[in-house]
Amino acid sequence: MEIKIRDDFPLLQRTVHGVPLVYLDSAATSLKPEAVIEAEATFYREVGANVRRGAYELGAEATERYESARAKVASLLGARPDEAVFTRGTTEALNLAAWALGETVIGPGDEVLVTEMEHHANLLPWQELVRRKQARLSAVAVTAEGELDLEDFRRKLSPRTKVVALPHVSNVLGTINPVPEVATAAHEAGAVVVLDAAQSVPHMPVDVRELGADLVAFSGHKMLGPTGIGVLWGRREILKDLPPLLVGGEMVHEVWLDRATWDDPPARFEGGTPPIAQAVGLGAAVDYLQAIGMDEVRRHGQELTALVLDGLLFRPYVTVYGPADPGARGALVAFSLAGIHPHDVATLLDREGIAIRGGHHCAQPLHRKLGIPASCRVSFHVYNTIDEVRLFLEALDGVWKALG
């Protein structure tokens, strides 16, 4: 199956520094299959018009394709189409969530509870929000094993907690957080649950109803789709009371010179011309993933994660961050080599055509907690192979020989 899948990704044909590309940075962004590239290009070639202006044929077709992409995304999540808001990506989705909740449920003295394993995209919007509203931010601790400290969570959860924000899968530790358990407790305390699902939706079956979160954000470009498109899924009862972040065209019901009334969700949150071709591309990515099957995508990711985890844990010069059980992880592993800066590791591997991430992965507070300025990270998607994992591990021994 791998070989057939690899043929679908044109970028895998190219070489880097004269050797075949081994792309192990899908947690940053995934490669795109021909079907996605083609869907986006076809939209421009054959339709091209703006959406929600149905007075002529092309406009109606554009709206149809845009809304059909929304329906595909919703079906992937086990949700209703009118609960899926298109954004530019996870960052915009989380900013929208923080803004809208700030206008409705957060007041002076209230609390937002995040975690120590937040990507900056699910931290900074809340920092800004509590500053604006004279509210307070606190963070659930991460255990030595790289898991959420649920005792600390229950200690910090209180009737003042209005929002609990957390990642579904940590983009550094790889940890899959127990979202249903967190959501149940948060709801009992009267808090809204906001989930950063950027590293889960692309890699495993996600049913938003089973998870129990109220708002769920993710990006198209990490799930084989285009850049510039993402999703904020919101429970209908929650979305209907939230105000828009962007106001202007296409998101209104009636406008007077001094006031306006908002359209219903999801249009209310999609002010301005949306990324139409990108949404269509995301729809094609969902089709592609569902043709493989999200269970199979997950199985493949876990197989590679288990293999790389084994190889890394076996090497005494490597420190691995996050759970040792591949079943408790998403399709990524962060690690470091004793005494060697991650950027040196990444640069030397790049010379072998192997693309891995070296840096803080937009999670500086977590790296501070781990006591390191940065880490290396490998991550996978459907096109990666067992052979690539072996090549990577051998090349890592080469790095250690050169610099260790």
């Binding site: 990507h119 800066h341 950027h343 040196d344 072998e352 840096g359 803080h360 937009c362 300025p373 610099l403």
Partner: protein, 141 residues
């Protein structure tokens, strides 16, 4: 698989590493995004750099670059040291991949900052403090 010999050599055997007892000028530069930090200290007499030391933490490229830079600067007139260009340092390092230029040039920024703080007495003393330059690095989200 390796870096250029110059970088490996200076990383393993840094020259002029340490502190000066009474530096005439000193500056620290950092790349907050990757954690590289370099401190440069200068001993200046008769507008000539008599002594130079560096201390740092970070990747092989930034530390090797600091070491190479100390050799470029040692014994040079202040004006000449201030005129060292990015290209000159990169070429002394034997070349650096484009993704890592900010690491390689961090020590040079520290040197220029230290020299900027050093003024002969008739210049009217040190200039007002300048904000730390925004460190940029190759890796973010």
């Amino acid at each position: 698989m390796s870096y250029e010999e110059i970088i490996l050599d200076h990383w393993r055997h840094p020259r002029n590493k340490g502190r000066l007892p009474h530096p005439d000028a000193a500056a620290v530069e950092a790349n907050p995004l990757c954690g590289d930090v370099v401190r440069i200290e200068l001993g200046i007499k008769d507008q000539t750099i008599q002594d130079i030391r560096f201390e740092g933490e970070g990747c092989a490229i930034s530390l090797a670059s600091a070491s190479v830079l100390t050799e470029l600067v040692q014994g040079k007139p202040v004006a000449e040291a201030a005129g060292i260009t990015d290209e000159a340092l990169l070429s002394a390092l034997g070349g650096v991949v484009r993704t890592r230029l900010s690491c390689a040039l961090l020590p040079l920024r520290a040197l220029h900052k230290a020299l900027g703080q050093h003024r002969s007495p008739d210049d009217g003393g040190p200039p007002p403090g300048e904000p730390p330059s925004a460190g940029r690095c190759t890796s973010s989200g």
